[in-house]
Subunit: 349 residues, 2 copies
């Protein structure tokens, strides 16, 4: 589809590697006080002074993590930054810098990479992170994006996965499951398009779901909100692989069990309607669907009053002694053991 | 070739993504004082105190940067770390941490990834860097390794590419060109093997060249040596793309010209002999061959006495006013303009 959309096509090899890097990175300005030197030397130079530094990295592979049939390159660039920034937010740290490496096959013209980098630049600006380095090379097949994100925080601000205690409340930001159903809608439209390329999709009923899939946002705002509410979570993780996987990570690393209540799960009305249309159980989607990039965290019971009624946060359950296991309590009051299904990129081949 | 060598093959998908990451990373111990938390949370946590932080990243792609027909996976793991550590050394900083992400097709069994990670672990130990994070996923084709390296230095220790002045001496560590000729020897053997799989290669005459290609080392020792000699380079870069490219980077960023003298280039006798056998000009190889991972740096004339006769360092030329251009002065005393040829991974497809 890319080929059709770009009447002008410039071969990447016309610029050469150095020319390409210069061309794609000249739009990046350094805004973080901690960035002393960005792109242009053997390494970037940073100064975090007395702050702790957090580092996270993610690899996105065409055909495994994204499908360019329905993922516009600008959106892909944006999302690839969000995915990494989300990990920094999940430490309760402030994202500050990213490096961006791409491997790309020669079917991509320069104009395609410009779109990708426009999305990267937009996200970098939106989240206030400096693009301080990267690598650009060819691939044997498809597009691959590797991003490393850095962030900073005071030592006493950082929140790990292993600090939750029995009786802590389990809280989720925003709503969950929508990104997964957005993907199902897009996959269906792709099938329809393959059968009849002239069909005009009517996606009005799914705009929220599709936006959650194509243009997710990292919850950079949660750090600020929690700070204002004078809450420090005891444990925190971002929801990239699905609620079930993330809850299990928190419980295992904190040595707790938990009860999650089905009737507390925050679901968008569009998600519920679309699950009915697709004849899929909305709870299953909310628990196992990934890529929402909401934050899942635990707080002491004493902090409940601070978030009660706050529309940004939903208490979905509580931690227990580890012997009680990790369960979903259904609307029918039965307990089902949660399993880590999530997104297993390694099983997709 | 991998398939033949591994009678035991465990499918990666048997472990799942989390199981695979646990399995491959359990061997990594944190040794750097600046590593507060390594693998196991949303992000690693580091504390560099009053040091500056340097960050560099590289992407290695099968079929573009390496060929598994002659590159053993353990060597590849080792080299992928070296390539990144070398960039940190080129800032005159001390390498401290790396993240390692890999994308791998399902033709690789678990045992192959174990070999790769054994090489990564060996290099991490050798260079004293902690493996603090990464990502593991499937690829549509082949193997891809993305590493980000971090290092630390005091602000006044850092050496950039842009500090060289006219009349500064240009110095190279070790010898150059051998890694490129090692590749030529391996490529020739691959051709022979394809014609006659039973042929027994006799590589005794090329051991140094092959080692330089398959198991290069980053010059972590140079920082210590220069410190002991009380020399601070004015500009520095590592030789990954070839001397010519790197000299041009230094000159352009420092706004200088230069004269490099052909008869000063440090060439190993095995390189000279093999170039004769292959009927290739050794100077061309020394100037355009990449992957030596030696350091190229400039020093003030006043520091010449400190390195005179030191077998680790060779003065190969001097910086000039920018108007004089960037030249190689041949043995016949003619001047040839240097061009950035280097390794252009984007032209290899």
């Amino acid at each position: 589809m890319i080929e059709d959309k770009n009447p002008q096509r410039t071969s990447i090899s016309q610029l050469g590697e150095f020319g390409l890097i210069d061309h794609l990175t000249q739009q990046f300005e350094m805004a973080q006080p901690s960035t002393l030197k960005g792109i242009g030397d053997d390494a970037a130079v940073l100064d975090f002074k007395d702050k702790k530094v957090v580092v996270s990295t993610d690899l996105l592979v065409e055909g495994v993590h994204f499908d360019l049939a329905y993922m516009p390159l600008k959106h892909l660039g944006y999302k690839s930054v969000v995915v990494n920034v989300s990990d920094i937010c999940a430490m309760n740290a402030k994202p500050t810098q990213i490096t961006v490496s791409i491997a790309v096959s020669n079917r991509f013209p320069l104009e395609a990479l410009e779109e990708l980098f426009a999305g990267i630049a937009l996200a970098a600006k939106e989240y206030g992170v400096d693009v301080i380095g990267g690598d650009t090379t060819s691939s044997q097949k498809g597009l691959l994006i590797s991003i490393t994100a850095l962030g900073e925080a005071d030592a006493d601000e950082l929140v790990y996965r292993n600090g939750a205690k029995a009786n802590d409340l389990i809280v989720v930001t925003g709503d969950i499951g929508a990104a997964y159903m957005g993907l199902q809608v897009l996959e269906r439209e792709k099938q329809v398009f393959q059968v009849n390329p002239n069909s005009q999709p009517d996606l009005d009923a799914y705009t929220y779901l599709i936006e959650r899939q194509l243009k997710p946002e990292a919850r950079k705002d949660v750090r600020t909100m929690l700070h204002a509410l004078e809450i420090k979570p005891t444990g925190m993780i971002d929801i990239s692989d699905g609620l079930s996987s993330e809850v299990i990570h928190l419980c295992k690393q904190s040595n707790t069990g938990c009860n999650i209540f089905e009737d507390k799960l925050p679901l968008d009305p569009q998600l519920i309607a679309t699950c009915e249309e697709f004849n899929i159980d909305a709870t299953t989607v909310a628990i196992n669907g990934g890529e929402d990039y909401e934050l899942l965290f635990t707080i002491g019971m004493d902090d409940f009053d601070k978030i009660k009624g706050n529309p940004n946060f939903t208490v979905i359950g509580h931690m227990t002694d580890p012997a009680e296991g990790i369960h979903l309590v259904t609307r029918a009051h039965t307990k089902i053991a949660l399993k880590a299904r999530g997104w297993n990129a390694l099983n997709k081949e």
